[in-house]
Subunit: 467 residues, 2 copies
């Protein structure tokens, strides 16, 4: 990784560690196991342990840690649920990991305004459980049970972004601690505003490099009167992709439309005890009134039949639906279970929908010609898909072949007018591709980073590199 | 205006003017009338003439002007259609006005991807005329026939943002010339991306202070199969507002839901030759399949009846519908025609929908107790509304009373958790309110401005002040 070339250690000095210990007591730890759990994410990327972990309980405590780290020029890395995938959490220069799990309260539900205020460490599942009685829900769902702060920081999206948008569209405002220790609120509760630069969207997707998100105001949606889910098998992956493209182009408001190739279906059958036909498959969900979901399903059925799609296998019961989506959410773990002991070198790209069929077909051809097993799965309604290459990170042959497939896939997406990452982010893993995709804007991104974090304290080396 | 306290003149020096003249020939002018037309917007704010106007035909030409202005430390103000409302275009320090009207081409329509690439100087009406044969349209509609570059720069929204979002939600990517003359492309054509800081959203709403937008990629939507519009009169403004709130809270996907108070209805009748009942009124539009628009209208009707709404007056024919929306779009001009010779001191605020009834009622009470005429109109589905105070800008009594009502309305919106501007922006007119609303983030906004435009060349004195 190019970032690692210039790493300067900025390990937390003893006086800082002692000051944090005095301030946080049992909520401060230098334990090896805890540091190990905080120096890595769920990906294959190399871990790098922070020097200590702190568990703040309030924005003011976060600000205290930021100020203390600033005094000692020590890096600070915010940690949510540890489910990111591009090496976002590795403490390459050393420093303090700020575990946000102790800040997990729902602060205010505004049913009338369809919004909610939460602390950054709450997970999406807990949030939706706490909302259950209101008839409202928060839709963004990256699969993993991530924290809302982490989801905002990585601009997460997931299975129903095609209908409800990503974190970019669903964060109304953020409370954040900036690198100088100041606490700011980036927006308000009005649905729109033309007042000032859009710092909310500057922080969303900034991967903890511009500020530490401590609270969020989020949009909520009414739980649809009717929800129906189905799977639809296809003879060919091309047919499934063509159905997705036609569905999106026709403006059909599907809530979820997910692709799994035959390898991924096999993995899900084994991991989640399903008995799906091991063919390319779409998982679908329709939201609306009973009449409208029926209309949508009918319209989609006609499209699918035109592309070799079989009959729907309906999941009308809530339990069946949950089982289906649980299996989809566990796709990454299911893929890894195909090759026990191996790691998942996972990557994601996103292309304009008109380029999706070509991008997927060429990627599948690459995989077919490779010795690696690599299921393909994706939020194809957005033009976004993932490849999970199963590699032994200690086997140079595996790593090199994985990298080759990975790089070809990302280059292909860029050549087709797409992006190097639809939702996983840059972290440390895609620095080189950010430079390729946004070489012209990268100096301005760095200028913003330098202006807001002149000491490069916040998650250094990620997103815009070590510069 | 606080901004004017510290103004330093940075008038374009003769060598710069001669260099621009040599470069642009007939597309350069120092003519008094042209300068006068470029030193003001449509508002009551004081004009300040630029030293010259340049009409570029390409991004490279814009970059040349930016570099030349940089050499001479001379300000540069991008000019679209001149329809902004907060003094955005006044050249307080002197400088060059860059009129983008010569860059008005549709560069590429991607029907399959539902997006379009345009030059920044195209107006929204021209864009939609050019799209007509594709079956697609661009929805953001601020009323005025603004340019897309100007709409992006001011984060414009308008009548159907409640359904389709504002410019924030509908710009996929921008080409811009930065203050150092470098040309950047902020995004790509993928529907989502997690690659890098979100410079697209940083430029959207930056009011020409961080970069000059020269091209845009925009989302498009299929023209709905069925469009129906209606007006619905109410006995009280409260009843109309309550109907809006219930409509939004119920999740009904209205495409437009606009309020006009009885003063504004009277103005529109006179100006646009309508014969509407001079009562508080909602203008509505429903988009969808014929069945779905009928369902929506039925659901809204039930809500309205519960709040003293009368029968719908339908405009099912395209011509009737256009006539109705033309009248709504001309509301500002209609209001001004109520008091010929007076100016419109217009302001807009946006509040959480739960606070809308209170915010409007208290504002109306202020107006009732004032000697000024001030129609109220708004995009109330978003919680956004406008007050148009008719004042003689040369009469200190009018100005002072207008300011009083204005300031009370904005303070009220802020106190209710809203924003000082939903869509008109900060410009020069709301600098003090930006400081009130975002005092905590303003230093960081200024740090971003300083990082990206260290010489303060781009529209100086606007948005973040003269600092």
């Amino acid at each position: 990784m190019s970032v690692q070339a210039d790493i300067i250690s900025r390990a937390a000095p003893a006086p800082l560690l002692r000051a944090l210990e005095a301030r946080f007591g049992a909520r401060f730890s230098q334990g090896e196991a805890l540091r190990a759990a905080h120096g890595r994410d769920e990906s294959w990327h190399e871990a790098a342990l922070p020097d200590a972990v702190v568990f703040p309980h309030s924005t003011e405590e976060v600000a205290d840690v930021v100020r203390l780290c600033g005094e000692y020029n020590t890096p600070l890395i915010a940690f949510g649920a540890g489910t990111s995938l591009e090496g976002h959490l590795a403490a390459y220069e050393g420093g303090i990991s700020l575990d946000m799990s102790g800040m997990s309260r729902v602060l205010q539900v505004n049913v009338e305004d369809l919004d909610v205020r939460v602390e950054a460490g709450i997970t999406r599942k807990t949030l939706n459980e706490e909302l259950r009685d209101t008839g409202l829900f928060f839709p963004v769902d990256p699969g993993a049970n991530a924290t809302l702060g982490g989801m905002a920081a990585t601009r997460a999206s997931g299975t129903n972004a095609v209908r409800y948008g990503t974190m970019r569209e669903n964060v109304l405002s953020l409370k954040a601690v900036m690198a100088n220790g100041e606490i700011v609120e980036t927006g308000g509760r009005a649905r729109k505003s033309a007042a000032g630069y859009d710092l909310t969207h500057l922080l969303v997707g900034s991967e903890g490099t511009l500020g530490i998100i401590t609270e969020l105001s989020l949009k909520l949606y009414g739980i649809p009167e009717s929800i129906s889910a189905a799977v639809c098998a296809f003879d060919t992956l091309d047919g499934a992709v063509a159905s997705v493209i036609e569905t999106i182009q026709s403006g059909l408001p599907v809530a979820r439309i997910e692709i799994l190739d035959e390898v991924q279906v096999r993995a899900c059958n084994a991991y989640s005890g399903l008995s799906l036909a091991e063919k390319p498959m779409l998982f679908l969900e329709f939201h609306g009134s009973p009449r409208s979901t029926a209309e949508q399903a009918e319209a989609f059925g006609a499209i699918a039949r035109g592309h070799g799609g079989g009959d729907f296998d309906w999941a009308t019961q809530t339990e069946d639906r949950n089982r289906l989506w649980e299996a989809r959410h566990n796709a990454y773990y299911a893929a890894r279970a195909l090759a026990p002991g191996k790691s998942g070198m996972v990557t994601d790209v996103c292309v304009p929908i008109s380029q999706l069929a070509r991008c997927i077909a060429e990627t599948k051809a690459d995989v077919a010609a490779s010795f690696l097993t690599a299921p393909l799965v994706g939020h194809v309604g957005d033009g976004n898909f993932h490849l999970i290459m199963l590699i032994d990170p200690d086997d140079p042959k595996d790593v090199s072949e994985g990298r080759r497939l990975h790089d070809r896939m990302v280059e292909r997406a860029l050549a087709l007018g797409g992006t190097s990452t639809g939702e996983h982010g840059i972290g440390a893993g895609k620095l080189d591709f950010l430079a390729k995709e946004h070489g012209d804007t990268l100096p301005f991104m760095r200028a913003v980073k330098q202006a807001l974090d002149p000491k490069n304290l916040l998650n250094p080396g990620k997103m815009v590199g070590g510069f």
